[in-house]
Symmetry: C2
Subunit: 346 residues, 2 copies
DNA sequence: CGCCGCGATGTTATCGCTAACACTTGGCCC
DNA sequence: GGGCCAAGTGTTAGCGATAACATCGCGGCG
């Protein structure tokens, strides 16, 4: 038996003050602190009996490794950072949830840094903020042009991936294929026999809004349908409502593709107030498939994005980046069209 | 001029490999590492000219303090943990946002640990998970009985506050006054002349559901109104829809208080399908005031909870706890009734 | 029979920072 | 003019972990 401490008379850590350290555990188990470290990390080889003694000591002292000390010596913090632009929205919140779950399973912690306004400076600030936390990698959830610009100047020395944004070549991007989703929705509406499809777009400085609009426009062009004027909202139900009011007046309007479900809700409301019945007078499709979409009046045809899956894949992409691999720039997740009554029989 | 390095010939950190350290900055500025530390932390006194030189060196090397080293020596990680039960819902997500904002302003980082299912063990796991990250304090957002039970066994050595949950005496709780909100909604409906008010409740193991139900029940009793049978949902629109279908059949049903807005949406849908018109045939009120509630068909009367404010106050409460003060157990935030068409004139 | 290698363990250096204390200089007071 | 104080700076000692190397038996093999 090695060491100076006698197992029969363990040196207990003072019950007061500070947390027990490796040395305290070692004292109690009658081994060196290095042996305890080996037991904890499963490295090296330790006799079964010794391991049992150490484990018991850890248990008794309720020992927990000091993550700061470990991070200092290993140079790895075990933490990833996520920048989210308005994490109260369903999409970002779900993506974050997916990322966090995958990260936790892999033993990483997640630190968040929200950004309320989509400005290049605030996004850069958030990234900088995370770097100060010594995160090992960063995810930016900000499908916004400002984010794209911010990422061009992103630090090179910390692995970074973007969700849903940026044509930047310098940062790998993962996203749901907005263009394809918009195409599906638009083609679905055209297939119902409409001469053309109107569009309520999202804010012009959001990449998702641009891609959806482009998907809609090019689908119309490909089918030789007239490209109507675009009404623009800001993602909110309120703006959808206003868009709806402006469309009610429009003659020869029989189908609308709205860039997200919340605006679609407002639009439905405006149509109802304006005396238009959906789907009898007008067909409406949305985007996102928020959990409530199936219970709108009428239930909304929409494009489903699997945010949880998106989050998981984002985490995988970041890990691959951190390991130095994975230089492919753009990863797309395919969305799915969910048909409901808002584009149903008249 | 002190030190051995000549300012004219700065010792640059190797461009390769590791991040610059205090010593690298010190070398470049021609001072000791301790002076650099003083400049960074604003402690002690440093001559203006020296400070300028150090600042320039920091800038040039793009130096960033190593948070692990700092945490190791100070014993403070500068990180707070948040446990959230389903952070994709509007309420928890907004509360988290409020907490994170307040924390960031105060220089703290936020680490999250989501819990998908409201079990005592998983909540304890999440807390344990955060402790391993050496957080200085923990917020548990989980207005659920399981959370309450988990908190009774919560570690004593890390400051912890709960949002919206638990009658536990051991942990300070901050919450929106659910009882009062339910009272307001119910009294509003009674004041419209209804003989009684029906209730679609949330899941029985959620404290918010219980408080809202109790607020409704006792208000009816206080006004001598009949207490009807309770229909129970699970917060989802789908369950609200089913509750609505079951209520459509009910004769003599003219007012419903639904425990949250999402269920209210489903209920409205079921009523529409069932041939009941709101507000003509039935009055409906919800709870939460999600951003979409104003655009339901019809716009929903509901009880607004200020989640952002709740988050800010939660952070304040946690900080107070961490400073050792603030032993008051229960803090309540008063909600507000927002009246819209769903309880409007017939 | 001595040496090599390996399993099991201990010793020492080190990560980057702050706390605590030591030291120098110059001005001011008596 | 000697001593004291404060400003400004440096030196040293850890914080609690892991990495790297050292040590010690012991069994097998040439």
């Amino acid at each position: 038996m090695a060491g100076t401490a006698r197992p029969g008379e363990p040196e207990r850590a003072a019950t007061s003050g500070r947390q027990p350290s490796l040395t305290d555990v070692a004292g109690l188990a009658g081994v060196s602190h290095m042996t305890v470290s080996r037991v904890i990390n499963g490295t090296g080889s330790v006799k079964a009996e010794t391991r049992a003694r150490v484990t018991a000591a850890i248990e008794e002292l309720d020992y927990r490794p000091n993550s700061a000390a470990r991070a200092l010596v290993t140079g790895r913090s075990g933490t990833l950072g996520v920048v989210a632009l308005d994490s109260t929205l369903y999409g970002p919140a779900s993506t974050l949830y997916g990322i966090e779950n995958a990260a936790r399973e892999a033993g990483y912690a997640i630190t968040i840094s929200s950004v309320s306004r989509p400005q290049r400076s605030s996004i850069s600030d958030a990234v900088e903020n995370l770097r100060r936390q010594a995160v090992e990698g960063i995810v930016v959830i900000a499908p916004h042009v400002a984010a794209g610009r911010a990422l061009e100047y992103a630090p090179r020395d910390v692995p970074l991936v973007a969700v849903g944004g940026g044509e930047t070549a310098s940062v790998p991007v993962i996203a749901v294929d907005q263009y394809d989703g918009a195409r599906r929705a638009t083609e679905h509406l055209l297939a119902l026999g409409h001469r053309t499809v109107w569009h309520v777009a999202g804010p012009g400085d959001w990449l998702e809004a641009r891609d959806r609009e482009r998907g809609w426009r090019e689908t119309l062009e490909r089918h030789g349908a007239e490209v109507t004027r675009v009404v623009r909202g800001d993602w909110s139900s309120r703006s959808g409502y206003e868009a709806g009011r402006s469309l009610v007046a429009e003659r020869d309007m029989s189908a609308v593709f709205v860039a997200n479900d919340q605006m679609a809700l407002g639009l439905l409301r405006a149509f109802t107030e304006g005396g238009l019945t959906v789907p009898k007078d007008v067909h409406v499709a949305g985007f996102d498939d928020v959990p409530e979409a199936a219970y709108f009046s009428p239930p909304l045809t929409t494009v489903r994005q699997d945010f949880i899956e998106l989050g998981r894949r984002t985490f995988g992409l970041l890990i691959a980046r951190m390991d130095g691999g994975e230089h492919q720039v753009r990863h797309l997740v395919t969305p799915e069209l969910i048909v409901r009554e808002s584009t149903g029989p008249r």
